[in-house]
């Protein structure tokens, strides 16, 4: 059974690459969104098996803040992507119960390992 993914990323081309990769490793991408509010809506609507969440998004709210809100109604696993590996940011992300934290340019092999460890819901 295919794992269902939601991609939250503000860069459309990167979203396309992530989507292609996920499809290549046998996942289904249920939606791709670029900001926090649409991400929250997409989680409510699609109830994905996991989220690939960029920290920096379109708009004021970042990925961690969006995830904090999602945690109010869902315990969906999340893998964060970030442009930097700052300890403070990593700590904030960890507090939302993350499954992984990858620094851009992401290593797809590491991403695959993380996805493999996520159970199908």
């Amino acid at each position: 059974m295919k794992k269902r993914a939601l991609i939250v990323e503000d860069d459309i081309v990167l979203t396309m690459i992530d989507k292609l990769y996920l499809q290549k490793i046998g996942c289904e991408v249920v939606a791709t969104v670029t900001n926090a509010s649409t991400a929250i809506e997409a989680v409510r609507k699609h109830n994905p098996d996991f989220i690939l969440m960029d920290i920096r998004l379109d708009g004021e709210t970042d990925g961690v803040a969006a995830m904090e809100e999602i945690r109010g109604f869902s315990n969906v696993p999340v893998i964060y992507f970030s442009g930097n590996s700052e300890a403070g940011m990593r700590q904030r992300a960890a507090e939302t119960g993350m499954s992984g934290f990858l620094v851009k340019p992401i290593d797809f092999a590491s991403l695959k390992d993380l996805i493999d460890n996520i159970p199908v819901r």
Binding site: D11, V13, L14, I17, D18, L20, Y21, K24, R56, G83, N84, S85, E86, V103, K104, P105, I106, D107, F108, A109, S110
Partner: protein, 475 residues
């Protein structure tokens, strides 16, 4: 500004009326004037001090002149007594007082004050010894507190105490000389005593009066200057308030500008990282669609080079100062990225590093990072073929303005020079990066391959280094 400089200079030279006129002039009342009020205030204070000092010197001169004038009748008196030695002494005393005036005019104030103290003490002691205690010469000593107040500032406590002590000593000496009749007095006629006493009393009184008039006048002028200064402060209170408001506004603008720059920097960083991620992702996808392992390895190596650049970029972004990065911290990130690319061998090959916390500027950090990336990748790929375990050691030290970077492994070693692939991209890149660093490369076999790169250390300027130290402390 030029206008106000002129005003300050004019204040120094001006009389009281001129100063007042200048303080109340329209330029001073101009709220928009950008002239530093503090400078003006210090100008007025200096002017006040100067005026007070000039008045004091004028009074010292007046005192010397009056004393010389009051001493002149004694010359006739002493000539009548046929005491020519004392006449000469009196003339000398008068001359010294006149000399003091000359010294004051030339600016030798301290020397003049010292001469006045010596001269007054000596003249009173000499003529009291000559004419006796009853002649009333000692009455001049009662003006000594006023003389001290005239000659010295209250801050010069040592001088004041010494001067008072000298007058007290003179008075005691006169008293003792009289009591023990040390000298024979020259007065032929005792009827002259009341006349002399009266004369000295009057002269001492005139001196005291002159001095008191000076002090009263000086205080009045001092108060007048203070009043003007208060007026000046009142007039400029609004200007100061405006200047403070302007500065606060400017500070606010600076903060906003800094905030904008930070946002911009963050945005650029985000864009660069995303673009690198894009190229890396495209290579990854392209590599996945290839079945040939060799082709996949080429893509993998290219991705690795991009990640080395990304690691530099990230280190710079996280650094407080974007002009330099810490060698050891940066290399640690780099090693983590390289290890990920060789998962099959990385578990069995130990990567050990001994790195001094050398600070490299960006121009050296980039080729240096890419260089190490090439050498380590090379070792992972070729050094341990057919081996289950291995060791790669990286050391970086700073010595005599050079950075010595050594990467060694305990693998199969480098092939002989003639067997090396001359067109190998890896070796070509290594040579180019060394050239870019203006360094030297030494390759040899010593229980494995050894690469030793030596390049001149570009010292980070002090201000940058201080920021760096701060960053290290914060960490």
């Amino acid at each position: 500004m030029q206008c106000c400089d002129n005003i300050i200079i004019l204040c120094h030279l001006s009389t009281d009326c001129q100063t007042e006129a200048l303080l109340l002039s329209p330029v001073f009342q101009d709220k928009k004037s950008s002239v530093n009020v503090k400078e003006r205030m210090s100008g007025v204070e200096a002017n006040m001090h100067l005026q007070s000092e000039q008045a004091r010197i004028r009074t010292v001169n007046l005192f010397c002149g009056a004393t010389a004038l009051l001493g002149s009748p004694y010359l006739f008196f002493l000539v009548r007594l046929h005491d020519y030695l004392s006449t000469a002494v009196m003339a000398a005393i008068i001359a010294v007082f006149l000399l003091c005036i000359s010294l004051n005019r030339k600016g030798f104030i301290a020397a003049s004050c010292l001469l006045i103290v010596i001269n007054t003490n000596f003249s009173v002691l000499y003529f009291s010894s000559l004419l006796g205690f009853t002649s009333g010469i000692h009455l001049y000593l009662f003006t000594s507190p006023l003389i001290v107040y005239l000659l010295f500032d209250f801050k010069q406590r040592g001088k004041i105490i010494l001067t008072f002590a000298s007058y007290l000593f003179t008075f005691i000496a006169i008293f003792l000389i009289d009591k023990y009749q040390v000298f024979d007095y020259k007065l032929p006629d005792s009827s002259l005593i009341p006349f002399l006493y009266g004369l000295n009393f009057c002269f001492a009184l005139i001196l005291a009066f002159l001095l008191i008039v000076y002090f009263a006048n000086n205080n009045a002028s001092y108060n007048h200057v203070l009043e003007k200064q208060n007026l000046f402060l009142l007039l400029h209170k609004d200007t100061l308030m405006d200047q403070i408001a302007e500065r606060l506004q400017a500070e606010e603008k600076l903060k906003e500008s800094l905030q904008e720059k930070n946002v911009l920097l963050s945005e650029i960083h985000h864009r660069v990282k995303n673009n690198l991620a894009l190229v890396s992702g495209l290579l990854e996808l392209q590599g996945l669609s290839e079945t040939d392992e060799k082709v996949q390895a080429v893509f993998s190596q290219s991705r690795n080079r991009i990640k080395s650049l990304a690691a530099i970029h990230e280190s710079l972004y996280q650094s407080e100062n974007i002009a330099c990065i810490r060698f050891d911290q940066y290399f640690q990130k780099l090693f983590n990225e390289v290890i990920k690319l060789y998962p099959a061998t990385a578990a069995d090959i130990e990567l050990r590093s001994t790195l001094q916390p050398i600070k490299l500027d960006i121009a050296q950090a980039i080729p240096c990072g890419l260089l190490v990336n090439e050498i380590i990748s090379n070792a992972y790929k070729y050094a341990f073929t057919g081996r289950t375990r291995g060791l790669i050691q990286v050391t970086a030290t700073e010595k005599e303005s050079f950075v010595i970077l050594e990467v060694r492994d305990d693998g199969c070693g480098l092939p002989p020079e003639n067997e090396m692939r001359s067109g190998s991209l890896g070796m070509t890149l290594i040579a180019s990066f060394v050239q870019q660093l203006k360094g030297t490369l030494e390759k040899r076999n010593e229980n494995g391959a050894v690469f030793r790169i030596c390049f001149p250390y570009k010292k980070i300027p002090n201000n940058v280094e201080e920021a760096y130290e701060k960053e290290s402390i914060d960490c």
